[in-house]
């Protein structure tokens, strides 16, 4: 049995919440995606099947709308609003990211809808929250992300290059909070039978997803500065992204800091016969034989601790320069160091680890008679498994089916 079997979610199609609907649908909720006549704009987002545009050929659409059913309702028409109310009467959750005033203007806001479903859980996602007039300004994912702060922390040591945002960052984060909120309310409803209205701010969501940038300021009034490929920091930190022999990169994260780590790194360096190229290797031996706590707070002030710590970094840099990135990654992990190869998405996808975890999920598209491989589950619940129950819906594909059920 799926975890959300029997739960009906009405999703008013909109890019910022597409991932939220998918997360609920892939866990078994009956997510009914409501589109306007002509369809949601995301149907026309590239990339396309075989690079040929078409409303049923967008791979963006395919990804974000798995496991959902699709209907068309014209909310601007009285008959459409009647249909929507009838649908809401059967629903547990409404998920929407409409402009702030739109549903009230149509008399389809929470106050009106609870007359049709008294225990409705209504999750409303807006750029800056329901009470903020800035939610009426036009935004994109990039605009929300910039206003919320993440790019301040992301980019390069060279600050003449622009700060960087991660793709779809604000919308993904907003969707995550929309799902956490919906599930929290569903658990509460299961106990009390009470629904509620939930106001999710995309801007607030990314604001509290910036780690030290926020709490360095909140706690100590300190400002982090962005650095290439590593954490933004109040005081500059050593580089962690190493160029490997095949031109790819690896991230060495937290360098060795325990005696056993220095010992294993020293041994590996010798096995590779690279110790003679690194005079500082002597400090690795000192690190390996260190007694008592190795106090990272003394880096920069205690010469010995600084030298040992630096030798760890230098050894990793040297080894990286002589090995392909994947080999460096596996080698580091084999000696107990938390290092990661910087994969492109497809390199990660083709890695045997993800295949072994069942991350390649095949979905048959009967309309084109092709089986498509999709990315798999974010979590594995064996008793209530994640699954893609159907491909993304075509425009109005389930109109007749859903209206018949009503």
């Amino acid at each position: 049995m799926t975890a959300l079997n029997g739960l009906r979610v009405i999703e008013l199609a909109s890019e910022p919440i597409a991932l939220a609907g998918k997360l609920l649908a892939d866990m078994g909720a009956d997510v009914i995606l409501v589109e306007p006549p002509g369809g949601d704009a995301c149907r026309n987002y590239p990339p396309f099947l075989d690079d040929q545009p078409g409303e049923d050929r967008s791979l963006f659409w395919w990804h974000y709308h798995t496991s959902k059913r699709g209907v068309v309702i014209d909310l601007d028409e009285p008959s459409g609003r009647d249909r929507f109310r009838a649908l809401i009467a059967t629903a547990d959750v409404l998920l929407e990211a409409q402009p702030r005033a739109r549903l009230a203007t149509l008399q389809l806001d929470y106050d009106n809808l609870v007359a049709h479903r008294v225990d409705l859980i209504h999750v409303a996602v807006t750029p800056f929250g329901r009470s903020d007039e800035k939610s009426d300004l036009p935004v994109t994912d990039l605009i929300v992300t910039a206003a919320a702060g993440p790019p301040w922390s992301c980019g390069y040591d060279d600050h003449s290059l622009p700060p960087i945002r991660g793709p779809h960052q604000a919308y993904h984060t907003a969707s995550h909070f929309a799902v956490m909120s919906a599930l929290t309310a569903i658990v509460h409803h299961g106990i009390t039978g009470v629904g509620q209205f939930i106001d999710v701010s995309m801007h607030a969501a990314s604001n509290v997803t910036t780690e030290a940038a926020s709490y360095s300021w909140l706690v100590a009034g300190l400002t982090v500065q962005r650095q290439t490929g590593r954490h933004a920091s109040v005081t500059p930190s050593g580089e962690t992204q190493k160029l490997c022999s095949d031109g790819r990169y690896a991230n060495t994260g937290v360098p060795p800091r325990f005696p056993a780590e220095f010992a294993r790194l020293d041994t590996w360096l010798k096995q590779l016969e690279l110790d003679t190229e690194l005079p500082e290797a002597v400090f690795l031996e000192m690190g390996a034989n260190w007694e008592g706590p190795f106090d990272l707070a003394k880096i920069g002030t205690d010469d010995t601790i600084t030298a040992i710590f630096s030798a760890g970094r230098d050894a990793l840099k040297l080894i990286a320069s002589r090995l392909p990135a994947q080999e460096f990654f596996v080698g580091c992990q084999s000696v107990g160091l938390a290092v990661g190869v910087v994969n492109s998405p497809e390199e990660a996808f083709e890695d045997e680890h993800f295949k072994a975890r069942g991350f390649h999920v095949e979905v048959y598209h009967e309309d084109i008679d092709r089986t498509i491989t999709y990315p798999g589950a974010p979590y594995q619940l064996p008793a209530s498994p994640w699954q893609i129950s159907r491909r993304a819906p075509k425009l109005g594909e389930h109109d007749a089916e859903v209206w018949a059920e009503l």
Binding site: L4, P138, L142, I164, A212, L218, V224, G229
Partner: protein
């Protein structure tokens, strides 16, 4: 106002952000989160315990600002699980808990004698959620990870950057945050399943799985069209390909390290931008329509950058907002936390009372609930702060027994 999750108890071994961030959400909605730490190492498995930022010159295991941020409204007890008595106490706590949470490396809880089989023996419907970088199954399951490692291996670091530059990556542990979010979802989904079926389960959460899935459309472009993301001109992550928009990027402002994001969603936005900028380069035929602008983005960005670089944040933002063009300055922490009414009015930075730190602000939650609003008002627990409270109220131990546990090094 009632709390949504007040009927649940979490036996919590999580730490850092990827785990502690998850149980912070549960505690904010009233779940009783009992954080269990090692008295011998003073809870230092969580590397954030006792390290900065600090509110003042004081230092100590209870004074770490990041730890406080991620552990609000939780109870904290100490158990030395090297001792049999501590294992008995843990057994009693598990018996009375709904969920056991941890984000250790694979196998740690098992080595302590509390793997899933044992947990299920203690409480048949227990929900056990393990959260680690590579999960408990697969060739890399013994590998170690932090947020930046997860981001690197899963494709997210690669996807964030400029062409002909090293990966910019993410200047913070996005996947520690997001791994925590997926952990919240996993816990709540398992609770919903248990309510319907009476059945508990072990959720194997690998943050690299969650991270890889965030590349969805790019992965389908690979599996369907065979197009890799590692190709010339990519990544260029301030630009927009899905959907195609141009101009779309982060541009320099006058002054040191000042930046502004501008996006033209369609021709109306472009015409509105041109109306504001009103310079000769705007009428270049190469910028006449979206298709041309996409082909000429370097020149387009250069023209717009030259214009923005001569102007202040207020001038550019106000002019473009008035014209209806999507625009926002890249805000520094102090700007978005102390000077942005949007976050203040949302109540995004609640002040908590911490037993030793005192009053300090923390990250709030980005959602408001009409029936079960969250509450973040108590700071993170000091090491063993709630030993008496939990051992007395939950396990019914007397003051003498607790004193013995302390003198025997059990708590």
């Amino acid at each position: 106002m009632p709390a949504a999750l007040s009927s649940f108890r979490i036996c919590d071994f999580t730490g850092q952000l990827a785990g502690a961030g998850a149980t912070k959400w549960l505690a904010a909605f009233g779940a009783e989160v009992i954080r269990i730490e090692d008295p011998v190492r003073q809870g230092r498995w969580d590397i954030l315990r006792g390290i900065g930022p600090f509110v003042d010159e004081r230092r100590g295991i209870n004074l770490g600002g990041a730890f406080n941020n991620h552990n609000t409204n939780k109870l904290g007890i100490t158990l030395n699980l090297r001792t049999e008595r501590a294992k008995e106490i843990l057994t009693e706590i598990v018996k009375q808990s709904d969920v056991v949470t941890e984000n250790f490396a694979k196998g740690v809880l098992e080595r302590w004698g509390f793997g899933y089989e044992r947990l299920r023996d203690i409480k048949p419907d227990i929900i056990y959620v393990s959260n680690c970088g590579f999960g408990h199954v697969g060739p890399y399951s013994d590998f170690k990870a932090w947020g930046p490692i997860v981001q690197a291996v899963s494709g997210l670091t690669f996807a964030s950057g400029l062409p002909d530059q090293p990966p910019a990556g993410w200047g913070y542990s996005y996947m520690d945050h997001t791994g925590g979010y997926y952990m919240v979802m996993a816990i709540l989904l398992a609770l919903i399943h248990r309510r319907k079926t009476g059945e508990g389960q072990w959720v194997d959460l690998a943050t690299t799985d969650g991270a890889l899935g965030l590349n969805g459309p790019s992965l389908l472009d690979w599996t369907v069209n065979g197009r890799p993301s590692r190709r010339d001109g990519q990544p260029h992550s301030n630009r927009s390909q899905m959907p195609p928009m141009a101009p779309h990027g982060i541009y320099p402002l006058a002054g040191d390290d000042k930046w502004i994001a501008v996006a033209c969603r369609h021709e109306d936005d472009w015409r509105a931008l041109v109306g504001v900028v009103n310079e000769a380069w705007c009428s270049n035929p190469s910028f006449a329509d979206l298709e041309s602008r996409l082909d000429a983005q370097d020149a387009l960005d250069e023209g717009l950058s030259t214009w923005t670089a001569q102007r202040s944040k207020v001038d550019v933002q106000n002019a473009l907002q008035e014209a209806g063009v999507p625009v926002a300055a890249v805000l520094m922490p102090e700007e978005r936390i102390d000077l942005d009414p949007s976050t203040a009015d949302f109540g995004l930075w609640p002040t908590v009372q911490h037993t030793e730190i005192g009053a300090v602000r923390v990250d709030g939650l980005p959602a408001h609930f009409s029936a079960t609003e969250w509450r973040i008002d108590r700071g993170a627990p000091c090491i063993g702060e709630h030993n008496e409270e939990v051992l007395t109220n939950l396990l019914g131990l007397g003051a003498d027994e607790i004193a013995d546990l302390r003198s025997d090094g059990v708590i």
